[in-house]
Every structure is written in C-alpha cells, then in structure tokens.
C-alpha cells in the first residue's frame, strides 16, 4: 500500500531560550506559540493558522525562514502518524 505523508499545521520547535523568546520568535514568523511540549526542555508547540490543516505537501512560505533564527535549534512540521487501537 502507498499512503503519503500528511503534514499538519503544527510544528515542534526547539529553541535555546525561555518562553518569552519562543513567543517572540513565533510572532515574528506568524506562528502562535501553544506552549511547551510536555516537560521536554526547550521544546515548544507552534501553530500556523495560515497553513493548510492537512496536506500531502510540506508547508512552504516565508514562515519557513524561522529555521534561520539563530536560537532555533530544530524545527519539524508535524506529520500524522497512523495509530490503531488493539
């Protein structure tokens, strides 16, 4: 079977800085900082309302320049994972 990746309009970002820094970077590129990811250190949940909710293509646009921010260490557009109940 062939099932394509489904990209969402949510991102996981690792930022070397506190929540204020994450807010600043998020707003600079049009994201909304939804807060930390669990208790994982420096990981933040970003949401971009201008991106299609589900897409087989990864998101493109100026908001991708966020990865060039010096304090952004890692960013990943979240992909839908197929999970089944047993």
């Amino acid at each position: 079977t062939c099932w394509a990746r489904t990209y969402t309009n949510h991102w996981a970002v690792r930022i070397s800085g506190d929540a204020q820094e994450a807010d600043r970077i998020a707003s600079k590129y049009g994201y909304i900082n939804m807060g930390p990811i669990g208790s994982l250190q420096n990981y933040y949940h970003f949401y971009h309302s201008g991106t299609i909710k589900r897409s087989v293509l990864s998101s493109r646009g100026t908001h991708n320049f966020i990865s060039m921010e010096p304090k952004v260490e890692w960013i990943e557009q979240q992909v839908v994972k197929r999970r089944t109940k047993r």
Binding site: I37, G38, L40, Q78, V79, T84, K85, R86
Partner: protein, 803 residues
C-alpha cells in the same frame, strides 16, 4: 474504600463479579485462587490505593458509575484540540471511542457499588488522556506520554500502536523517544514512570511485535495475552520483547473479559491485547502500593521473577542461563499479583543501570536468498569502562541496518553467549517493503539475568516467499549490540529464598560464606526478624527486625537504630551521612543535624564547618554556628555585634541605621525619628535611651539630668563635648571627682579624713576607752604616732583634732 478485611470473602455485589473468572475462581472452593492471584494480593491489603493510572487512548467516560469514584482529573487531559482537560470520549453512532473506557474499567472500576464490574486495582485513581481521536503526531504522543503531571501519574497504560497489519515498521519519533526517556528518568519523583504496552494485535496478519517500536522499547512493559485454557489467542504476536502475559478473550468458546463500556454500560466484548495490558497495569498498581519506591526497572525485575509459565501452552518454553523460563508467546509467563506484592514489600532496589554499546565490525555482508548470514561478535560487556560495564543482563537491543528488496522475507535471530536463542524477527507475509531496516532496534528480554560477555551470534535468514529480483540481494550494512544491565548481581539466583529477603549480600563472593545457609539451625541475633538467619551474629540475619547498615566489607548488619554517621533511608536501610556529619537527615553535606568533633553545625546551611563564618557566632555549647542579628556583619553573641552591615553603624553593641544627631532609626516606621528632647543622640525613644545629652544637660546612667545626683560627680566634657555624671567612688557619699580621694562626705559610720572616708565604728568604741585611759591618745598624738593606722583608728578623735 472497600474494607480489606471483607476481601477474605472475595465477594462483591457488582452484577458481573461472578463472571470475572480471571480474578477469582467460580467454584467457590475453599482455597481456590485464580492463576493471577489477584485476590491473594487484595487479601494482603493491596487494592491500588494512592496509585494513579492513566489510560492513553481515545478518552474515558469519567461519568460512568464504575469510573466516577476513582476518576482523577489530574491524571487526565485531551490533546489535538488545543489544550483541554476533559477526556470525555466523542460519542458517535458506532461508539468508536469506547476503547479507553473499556481499558480503564479493568484497572480501577469501583468495587461493591452494585454496578457492572470490579477493577483489579479498584481503589486506584484512574485518568484518561484522549489522544487517539484525531490526528496523532509525534508531538501529541510526546505530550501524552509525559502527561501534564508526570510526578502525579505512576502508570501509563497504552493499548495502541502502529498498524498490526504485518507490513508496518514504525515506532516513536524524536519527541516521543525523548518523552519516554524523560519519563523514566524524572517521572514519579525520579523513580521513573511505568509504561505498560499491549504487545500487538496482529497475529492473524502474521505481524511481529518487533516492528512496533513502542512495545519493543526497553521503557515499556510489553504484555501479551493468553486464553483461559492457556492457549495462544488468534491475535497474539510472537515476539522476543514481550515481558509477561495476562488473560484475555480467545475463541468463541473461551470466556471473555468483562469491563466498563461507553454510555454507562458493561461489556464482555473487549478483547485482544488491549484487554491484557490494563490488567497488567492494575497488577503493577498493587505492587506500587506495596512499595511506592520501586523504580521502573525494579518493576520489570519483579515481573521477571514472579511471572510463571503455569498452564500456558507454547512450543518454545525454554529456561535461560539465569534460570528463568521464557517464551516468545508469553515472555516470562502469567503475571502473579500476590507474588509481586510479596516481592515488592521486601524489595531492595536493583543497582544502577549500565549501558554498554558493543560496535561490531562494519563489514557489509550480502544476504543471499535461502541462505543465512551469520555474524559473531565477542563481547566484553564494556569491561574496560566501569561506568558502562555490564555483567548481568537485563534488556538486550540489536541495532541493525539492512537493505533488502523484500523486508518481509527476513527472519533474524540472536544467540547469547549462554546459548539462549531469541527470534528478533519472523517472516512477514504481507511486508513487501523495499526499505529494509535503518538503524532499527530489535529487543529481547530472553537473556535476562545471563552474563553479558562472550560470543553473541546474529543470524539473518532470507526466505523468499515469492518471485523477486535476485539481482539486488539484501545487505547487512552494520549492527551493534546494546547491552543493558548491571555490573553487580541484582539479586540472589536462589528463587526459593528470594534475594530481597536476605540481608547479607556478597553474591560475587558466595563460595566464601562463613556458614552454610542450609545447615545453620542455631539461635539468631535479637535484631533478626522471624525470617531467620544463617549464623548467630547480627550480620547473619536473612532480614532485619528494625534497621541495617552496610559495613566496609559490604556485609549488612542489623541494628535497632541507625548508628552515628548513618540515617534511616528507604525501608529499613541506614545510609551513610556525609563524612563530617555525626547525625543527619540525608547523605548530602547540607543535611547534617549534628557534627563530628572538631566541626560546628552551621544552623543556616545544615553543614559542618571548622570555623564559624562572618555573620555567625559560636554558641555557648561550642557546637553550633548561630546566625548573628541580621544587622550584624560580625558578632560575638546574639546580643553583641562588633561590626555592622553596610549602611548601619554600631550604637553600643547593636547595629542601627545611622541617623543625624537627635534622631534614632525606627525599625517599625523604617525611618529616623526624633529622640527625646533631653537627648543629643539616642538608640530609641524615651528619656532612658539617650547616648549623649543635649547642651546644659549631662548623661547619668542613661538619663539626661540638669545636675548630677548626690552620689555622682560632674565629669568634664568628653572629646565629643557631651557631659556626663559619673558615680562617686564606693567609699564616698558625695564627691567632687573620681576615686577615693575626692570624697566630700561619707556614708554613715565613716569619717571623712582629708577627703578620704575612714571607717568610724572602731573609733566610736575606742573613743570611750581612749578617754577612759586619759592621756594615752594624747601621747599618741604627741609622739606623731597618728600616722600609724591602728593607732589612728584607736584615737581617731584626738588625732583629728587640730593643734
């Protein structure tokens, strides 16, 4: 809470209780117990109280009468739709989101409420994380695995995973992996979150649970299923990473598992490994109630030690070199709740986990159809690195990179140095993928307790199931062995006398034991418990009545109280204080409560020091550095400051904020206030607190007066110009200056002789006698003998008369 004493009867009024065969026997025979011995654990008083279990699924119906009482909102949340804390399932016509509610009922359905069913840990708190009903991403999984309260939740139960369709290979991505590691490292206040996972449900699809990176992880307790009769259910996946088994449903003639269902109902349709994993979570909750200090690894060790093959049918039961019976179908066997709580009660934490990565040679090997690739690696268990040295194995992981034109044709085996052969992967009929495995981690539990060093053999079989392109054979690109375990033996291999009950622990030196533990029948030391001993001393006890501490040679010695230099730590163990402490509350340098000779306890830092630092003074007993008044920089006692903090000045022996003359610092008003009008300077309000007096007044005993009192004389202005009245010498009644030679009058009974007060009592007596004798005193005077003190006193009147 249901009364524990009533559990002896093991009868509940819940309508489905009589049908719950996997918890209790149906024939009501006197000594009848089910194989999982859940009632046995209940009878010992463990029902899951104070243990929190969260179901990671499609939500739970918190309003269900069987779930309501034990529902814990702190263990519940909901993802996907922003942050929401209500895990109520989304209701639809097909009741699609019933799964979490069904799992929750198995763990913590309320007992004896005349509704439906009874949970295995019926007093545990139960929550739900609604994370499956919507898009699941790496981030959603990571948030769920960490929950919002990882210190509050003890056990996470998950009964989902990548498709069990026999062709999917998937596992936790970066964030979820971090969440697992974070959970076991910091969750449950450092003891580690316990993750229970359904081992897989793809038996009919010939799936293999090694292709599910969640259940295959060392951080999850992978639970498989067996039917009531001990047969392999149709959905069961065989797999080397399975740790243990609980009951579930099987064929139509097998009895079912009963649990809570959506819309406040009950069901017996819940089946598959989803029915088994929550049972395991419930049993683990009983063990955690018995001992909340069990680490995530302790829980796995206890499961390995207590699970039993019983009547479970499997063609591959084998006994590994550590004496554990293990199977690819059932792991170490059926879980035993009572045995687990007994072990948990007495458990000594296993030593620190060591991780040894053995990198094998990176020579690429071609995998030819119908042939086997065999790679042998001689492992040392990282013997050259004490931080990574593994002697006794726990989990063994094979990290492997293979390219292959058809992944489903591969089967992989690993044989330990002791000869235990695990199947890491079986052929998968439906897996046509050409992706192979890229750094995929296969895990086996089958070598648990065995030695790590020696030859490990990896075998890869390629069995073509259909025509395929043989021009591109598969390749074993690289593999490495990750050995998890300990460098010292975690417990005694004697299963009949569990290590956890034995106090003396020198397993490596077992042959040198002074007494044969089977032969000794003499009396035990008074500090031994009734478990017995293998010698007469306090170091021969099998278990201690009160406390024990470890001597230098690693021998454990039973004592009534922890000796000096030790503190009571977990359970009965006395642990060493910091070397400078005499008594303490913990092992750190800042947890001392008294100090060894030559050291003083700093009351602020609770540490032992050789000198009291600035701002502290040595107390009267010379054992405590007490803090000076907050205004003092240096002091010699609580009242006497010798140097003040910046901005303060020494006023007498106290420090105060410097104010201009005529004012003092009010600590209440935080400002300088006027002194009494008599004072030039003062320490406090009122006439009695002057330091110096206003012009024309003099300071007399802290008070300002216009003229000196009778027993005082006026002192010339000091260098600062302020006047004082000083007390006359004690021999004077009034005086004109300091000392005994400035008296101007004398107290009664004294006579003033040239500004000196002389004692006059003898003179009075002598006067009569002297006059009585007539010319004696005249003679004294004439002969200038008045200068002699005795004669002067005897003839005081004659001597003092002029002429």
């Amino acid at each position: 809470d249901y009364k524990v004493s009533n559990i002896h009867s093991a009868y509940f009024n819940d309508p489905k209780w009589p049908s719950m065969w996997y918890i209790h026997c149906s024939d009501n025979a006197h000594h009848c117990q089910s194989d999982m011995n859940i009632v046995g654990a209940w009878k010992r008083g463990y029902t899951g109280k104070n243990v929190v279990v969260t179901i990671l699924d499609d939500g739970i119906e918190r309003t269900h009468p069987d779930l309501m009482q034990n529902y814990d909102p702190l263990a519940s949340t909901r993802y996907q739709v922003a942050m929401h804390y209500d895990p109520m399932p989304r209701y639809d016509a097909s009741n699609e989101n019933k799964h979490g509610t069904r799992c929750a009922g198995e763990v913590a359905a309320t007992a004896n409420n005349a509704h439906c069913t009874v949970g295995i840990a019926f007093n545990a708190q139960n929550g739900g994380v609604r994370m499956l009903d919507g898009d699941v991403t790496d981030m959603v999984e990571a948030k769920s695995l960490e929950s919002t309260h990882p210190q509050h939740v003890h056990i996470y139960s998950a009964t989902w995973g990548p498709d069990d369709d026999g062709k999917t290979v998937d596992g936790p991505a970066a964030l979820a992996r971090d969440a697992f590691e974070n959970g076991i490292r910091t969750g449950r206040r450092g003891y580690g979150s316990v993750f229970v996972w359904a081992s897989g449900n793809g038996g009919r699809s010939r799936d293999h649970c090694s292709c599910d990176g969640y259940t295959n992880s060392i951080y999850t307790i992978s639970i498989s299923s067996t039917t009531e009769s001990g047969k392999k259910p149709w959905y069961l996946e065989e797999c080397a990473s399975t740790l243990a088994t609980t009951y579930s449903s099987g064929e139509s003639y097998d009895r079912k598992v009963i649990t809570t269902d959506l819309r406040q109902r009950c069901t017996d349709s819940h089946t598959g490994t989803s029915a088994s994993a929550p049972m395991a979570a419930g049993i683990i909750a009983l063990a955690l109630e018995a001992n909340p200090f069990l680490t995530w690894r302790d829980v796995q060790h206890i499961i390995v030690r207590t699970s039993r093959p019983r009547h479970l049918n499997a063609p591959d039961w084998k006994t590994n070199a550590a004496g554990h019976k293990v199977s690819h179908l059932y792991g170490f066997g059926l879980m035993d709740a009572e045995a687990m709580v007994i072990e948990a009660e007495k458990w000594t934490p296993v030593p620190t986990q060591h991780i040894c990565v053995e990198n094998t040679d990176r020579q690429i090997k071609t995998i030819r159809p119908d042939h086997v690739v065999r790679s042998v690696y001689k492992a040392t268990g990282c013997a050259d690195n004490s931080n990574h040295h593994v002697i006794y194995l726990e989990h063994v992981v094979v990290r492997i990179t293979i390219t292959h034109p058809r992944r489903g044709d591969l089967a992989i085996y690993l044989t330990s140095p002791s000869g235990t052969r695990s199947q890491l992967l079986a052929n998968r009929l439906f897996d046509h993928s050409m992706e192979g495995f890229k750094n995929w981690e296969f895990m086996t539990t089958h070598c648990w307790g065995e030695k790590a060093s020696g030859d490990w053999i990896l075998e890869i079989y390629d069995t073509p199931s259909q025509l395929r392109n043989f021009k591109t054979p598969g390749k074993l690109k690289e593999w490495s062995l990750v050995l998890y375990g300990t460098s010292i033996q975690p417990y005694s291999p004697r299963n009949d006398v569990p290590k956890v009950e034995r106090v003396r622990s020198s397993p490596i030196e077992e042959p040198s034991e002074e007494y044969n533990i089977d032969d000794y029948t003499g009396p035990c030391d008074a500090e031994c418990s009734d478990v017995g001993c293998d010698g007469p001393g306090p170091h021969h006890c099998n278990d201690c009545l009160h406390f024990y501490y470890k001597a230098k040679n690693n021998t454990r010695i039973c004592v009534s109280d922890c000796p000096l230099g030790y503190y009571p730590a977990d359970k009965k163990r006395c642990k060493k204080c910091f070397p400078t402490c005499e008594t303490c509350l913990g092992s750190r340098s800042d947890q001392c409560s008294s100090c060894k000779s030559g050291y003083y306890l700093n009351e602020e830092t609770n540490s032992c020091v050789t000198n009291c630092p600035d701002g502290f003074y040595l107390n009267d007993n010379k054992n405590l550095c007490k803090k000076c008044h907050e205004n003092c920089k240096i002091c010699t006692s609580a009242e006497i400051c010798t140097e003040c903090e910046h901005g303060l000045s020494l006023q007498g022996s106290t420090c105060a904020v410097t104010c201009e003359d005529g004012r003092y610092y009010s600590a209440v008003k935080k400002e300088c206030e006027l002194c009494h009008r008599s004072c030039a300077t003062c320490t406090r309000p009122g006439i009695g607190n002057c330091i110096n007096c206003a012009t024309e007044m003099a300071l007399e005993d802290g008070r300002c007066v216009t003229s000196c009192s009778s027993e005082y004389y006026f002192s010339f202005p000091k260098a600062n110009g302020f006047k004082t009245c000083k007390r006359c010498d004690g021999s004077c009644s009034t005086c004109s200056g300091p000392g005994e030679r400035n008296c101007t009058s004398c107290p009664e009974g004294y006579l003033l002789e040239g500004n000196i007060c002389m004692v006059g009592t003898i003179c009075k007596d002598a006067t009569e006698e002297a006059w009585a004798e007539g010319g004696f005193c005249m003679l004294v005077k004439k002969n200038n003998l008045c200068v002699r003190k005795v004669l002067q006193q005897l003839c005081c009147r004659t001597c003092t008369l002029q002429g």
